[in-house]
């Protein structure tokens, strides 16, 4: 990939793969010694080059990234994902995480799993797992234990309901100042697992509540925090009256 000579970009501009944004990054970073290049930016030689189409953003000081509406997941190491098991016949389970290739999950990477004690996973089961390996040229690998061999929050997700949404929505809902999940949690008891790959698993007490929570998640994509709070309040009134 050779960077194209072109107009000088600045933060907030639309950029395309191959655009050279070294200037924008230098100017934005000021005299700071270290700059973070987030997703969508690559370094080739001394230049910073865009690797996916979108809008050049600076979410924090000295942090740059390319933001775009995205539904296709690109696996990144250490991220938590929700996946559907598609093959359990061999030593490694195949898990669909919505990426270009299915991920592999060894049967030994569960808590209390040994060669004799195989975890009870069937085709179609949903798992919440962490990516232990991810790269452009490799198939992603999952684990359901941490470094100490403890499951923690990872593992098989029993029952519940699975929905898909955009990666942007996941990021929005998981940001620390998003009120949706807390507001819904004050309304009904429920359990959820948000994967960075855009899959959301919900488990509530009844079908009615599950549908309500799912719809609330979908609807909040184009709302701000105040609107979300109001929606949760209205939803509570409507569902309780049904």
């Amino acid at each position: 990939m050779t960077p194209t000579e072109g107009p000088t970009y600045k933060v907030g501009d639309t950029v395309l793969p191959g655009d050279d944004v070294t200037g924008a990054v230098r100017r934005g970073a000021g005299d700071a010694s270290r700059t973070v290049l987030g997703p969508g930016l690559r370094r080739t030689g001394g230049q910073v080059v865009v690797s996916r189409p979108g809008v050049l953003r600076m979410p924090k000081n000295n942090v740059f990234m390319v933001d775009a509406y995205q539904k296709r997941y690109i696996p990144v190491k250490e991220e938590h994902v929700v996946g559907v098991v598609t093959n359990t016949s061999s030593d490694v389970f195949r898990v669909d995480i919505g990426a270009s290739a299915t991920a592999s999950l060894s049967y030994l990477d569960f808590e209390h799993a040994t060669k004799k004690n195989r975890p009870n996973i069937q085709n179609g089961d949903v798992v919440y797992a962490k990516l232990s390996a991810a790269g452009r040229d490799m198939e992603p690998e999952l684990v359901c234990v941490d470094a100490h061999g403890k499951a923690g929050k990872l593992g098989k997700l029993e029952d519940g309901f699975l929905i898909n949404c955009s990666l942007n929505l996941i990021r929005k809902l998981l940001s620390p100042n998003c009120p949706l999940l807390q507001a819904l949690g004050q309304k009904w008891p429920y359990e959820c697992a948000f994967g960075m790959n855009g899959k959301v698993w919900i488990k509530a007490r009844s079908i009615k509540e599950t549908i309500a929570i799912g719809n609330a998640i979908y609807e909040s994509e184009n709302m701000n925090n105040d609107e979300i709070k109001k929606m949760c309040f209205d939803l509570g009134v409507v569902v309780d009256s049904m």
Partner: protein, 165 residues
């Protein structure tokens, strides 16, 4: 000079194995390692080492950039185990924030007043002792003696041998 060096490098294995040659052996091994490394990695290591390249940190994930929380949650006792873990996580985050705030404000965890209150007695005692000791005598031996006498409980009366008739 260079000849001498070359000779040194070509010391036989037998000599290098000897105990007193340990240092030179290490040096020779290091040199060989470096040469091999340069052959294998060629220019790459040199490129990576330049400060210009080091100024960029590559981060592929949005999780640390936007400080996203873990996506596994439970509310109102749906899954107590998960709620316990969530509580723990929140606690850790709060502690980290507190530590960060403290660092930014440059205020120590224990205020100067509290520290003075706590340490005032012991420190004053310590320095007080030294002053007294310095004033009283110069010799080291005397100092020790005076310290000892200060620390030890007040002497009781000497044992008096009963007079036998």
């Amino acid at each position: 000079m260079s000849q001498k060096r070359a000779q040194k490098r070509n010391l036989s294995k037998g000599i290098l194995e000897m105990k007193f040659m340990k240092r030179s052996k290490d040096k020779v091994e290091k040199e060989i390692e470096y040469q091999e490394g340069a052959e294998f990695f060629g220019n790459e290591t040199r490129i990576a080492g330049t400060p210009k390249e080091a100024q960029y940190i590559i981060e592929h994930s949005m999780v640390p950039i936007e400080k996203l929380v873990n996506g596994r949650m439970s509310f109102k006792g749906m899954n107590p185990e998960i709620e316990r873990l969530m509580e723990q996580e929140w606690h850790n985050i709060r502690e980290q924030q507190k530590a960060l705030e403290r660092e930014i404000s440059n205020r120590p965890e224990i205020s100067d007043k509290a520290m003075a209150k706590r340490l005032g007695k012991t420190v004053s005692k310590k320095y007080g002792d030294r002053k007294v000791a310095c004033n009283s005598d110069d010799s080291e031996e005397e100092n020790i003696n005076s310290d000892d006498s200060d620390k030890s409980p007040p002497k009781r009366g000497k044992f008096l041998k009963p007079k036998d008739d």
